[in-house]
């Protein structure tokens, strides 16, 4: 019993770590620039595939993660400059546009990599189970993912809360024009933030592809989870993304274990209840 609980807890954490990497980028772009980027799921997918390609060519997993991230940074830069700016902040247009981008990216990926599920090969140093006290077997890879998730969370939190950059970025959300009128090159700053978010999305595609596999439609599956994370935690809040991914990760793993029959309700039921009690999410601010 305790054995299973420990295992499910770790499972929840590892899914949470992946979701956090993806959702923190989404929350940054929405929270900061008020851009609803539905293409985030497609970024995950294409980052994963490109990273996979690099891993296959070079044999280096780390290189693949970086390449997956950077390629999405490039894609996002082009998309943002040529397309998203043209929506002038209208969320309806952003939704239409970024879903359009998702279609294009996902279908292109399908043409290039085909529809068979693919897995990013895990590096040798992360393969196989580690044995924990109490004879619990747990995959080393997922262990490392949890550690990475924690590290990135700490880093982002510090960046957001402790450095002036965080304050400026939040100011930019409140009133972009005024921030600029105080001498901040907000366009550049947002470009950097977008790049960071895009990098996280692309890199998490590679990281996720190594245990959840990459396949057509993964972009929607993962996007929905990321959205749930962000909404539960509260949009635009890094703390929220952390709490939200823990919530989703743990609910998913314990729910599947304890109440597999109700899987359809497991994730969305608690989310609906939570939102009705606290419409702005756990860490969101009521306006």
């Amino acid at each position: 019993m305790t054995h299973s609980i420990a295992l499910q807890f770790l499972n929840g954490l590892s899914l949470a770590a992946l979701l956090f990497l993806l959702a923190s980028g989404f929350t940054l772009t929405f929270g900061l620039a008020r851009v609803v980027n539905m293409a985030h799921g497609a970024y995950y997918l294409i980052g994963g595939y490109l990273g996979l390609q690099v891993v296959v060519w070079t044999g280096s997993f780390s290189l693949g993660v970086v390449a997956g991230g950077l390629s999405v940074v490039a894609i996002n830069f082009a998309v943002d400059r040529t397309l998203i700016t043209r929506t002038k902040g209208d969320p309806l247009l952003q939704v239409l546009l970024t879903i359009g981008i998702t279609y294009v990216i996902a279908e292109t990926a399908l043409l290039i990599w085909g529809g068979d599920p693919m897995r990013v090969p895990q590096p040798d140093w992360a393969r196989g189970p580690v044995v924990l006290p109490g004879d619990v077997f747990y995959p080393r890879y997922r262990f490392l993912l949890i550690v990475l998730g924690l590290a990135v969370a700490a880093l982002l939190w510090a960046l957001y809360r402790l450095t002036p950059m965080g304050a400026i970025v939040r100011a930019g959300v409140d009133d972009r024009e005024m921030t600029e009128a105080l001498g901040v090159n907000i366009t550049l700053l947002f470009t950097l933030v977008f790049a960071l978010a895009a990098f996280l999305a692309g890199a998490s595609g590679v990281l996720g592809g190594a245990f959840l596999t990459l396949y057509p439609h993964a972009e929607w599956d993962i996007l929905i989870l990321a959205l749930v994370v962000v909404i539960i935690g509260g949009l635009g809040s890094i703390e929220g993304a952390m709490a939200g991914s823990l919530f989703v990760g743990l609910i998913d793993s314990f729910g599947r274990w304890l109440l597999p029959e109700a899987a359809g309700f497991m994730l969305f039921g608690p989310m609906a209840v939570l939102l009705l009690l606290r419409p702005q999410g756990l860490f969101g601010r009521a306006h």
Partner: protein, 241 residues
């Protein structure tokens, strides 16, 4: 005092919001160490003038020169770094930042400060003690007047060489208005030029070295406060006082 080059020159600017033609040829010049007041009834284009100068709504035609430099086509953040401080209409404090964060923001590295600022937190708190009591409160929950004080302080923290104020005393209690009056006088004495839009006629008269009146997007009257005081018909016609 020997005539010097004006610090800010606005030369025949025309500004549109989409299709609506708001500024229809405005010219003015602000001299160094001068308080230049812009008056006019509601909707005459005062705020638009300020937005045009700071490139927030760039004029379609005409030029703005600051210290001899043409500001045409310069992005707003570069103009702010000249440095020019802005107190916008409606205060526009950053509601989800604390008071303190609002104040330190203009001096953070990303805002492009290049010299040691003359204004510090201490100096600003000294000016508005009410703010120092609320340093860790979210600016969005400040009272209207407190927000005004914060907005003025934030502009000062930008350490400006020119201060642009759009109705800074709106919603301030008379005591504070008097304080602001004193502050602007002091700043002017320290050599800081101020471009001031103000609905408080008494205050504008007390502070201004020169006055321009806008109506229908045009400059309809310019001169000294004394001349305006004497021109009853202009006052009645353009300002309703």
């Amino acid at each position: 005092m020997a005539p010097r080059d004006p610090i800010l020159v606005v030369d025949d600017i025309h500004t549109y919001y989409g299709d609506s033609y708001v500024l229809q040829g405005i010219s003015l010049a602000v001299q160094p160490e001068q308080v230049f007041a812009v008056l006019g009834r509601n909707g005459m284009g005062k705020t638009t003038l300020i937005r045009s100068i700071l490139s927030l709504t760039p004029p379609a035609r005409g030029t703005v020169r600051y210290q001899g430099r043409d500001l045409t086509g310069m992005p707003a953040y570069r103009i702010a770094r000249l440095p020019i401080g802005l107190v916008p209409q409606g205060r526009r404090v950053f509601g989800s930042l604390t008071v303190r964060e609002n104040l330190t923001l203009p001096q953070s590295a990303l805002s492009g400060v290049t010299r040691k600022p003359r204004w510090t937190l201490e100096r600003v708190y000294e000016l508005f003690p009410g703010l120092s009591e609320r340093a860790r409160q979210m600016a969005g929950s400040l009272s209207g007047g407190e927000q005004s004080m914060l907005s003025i302080s934030r502009a000062l923290m930008r350490d400006p060489d020119l201060l642009v104020m759009d109705e800074p005393t709106e919603g301030l209690a008379p005591v504070i208005v008097r304080e602001i009056e004193a502050i602007i006088k002091r700043l002017r004495a320290e050599g800081l030029p101020v471009l001031l839009v103000e609905q408080n006629y008494r205050l504008a008269m007390a502070l201004a070295d020169e006055v321009a009146i806008l109506a229908g997007g045009k400059t309809v009257w310019t001169g000294t406060p004394a001349a305006l005081q004497a021109d009853d018909s202009a006052r009645a016609r353009w300002l309703g006082v």
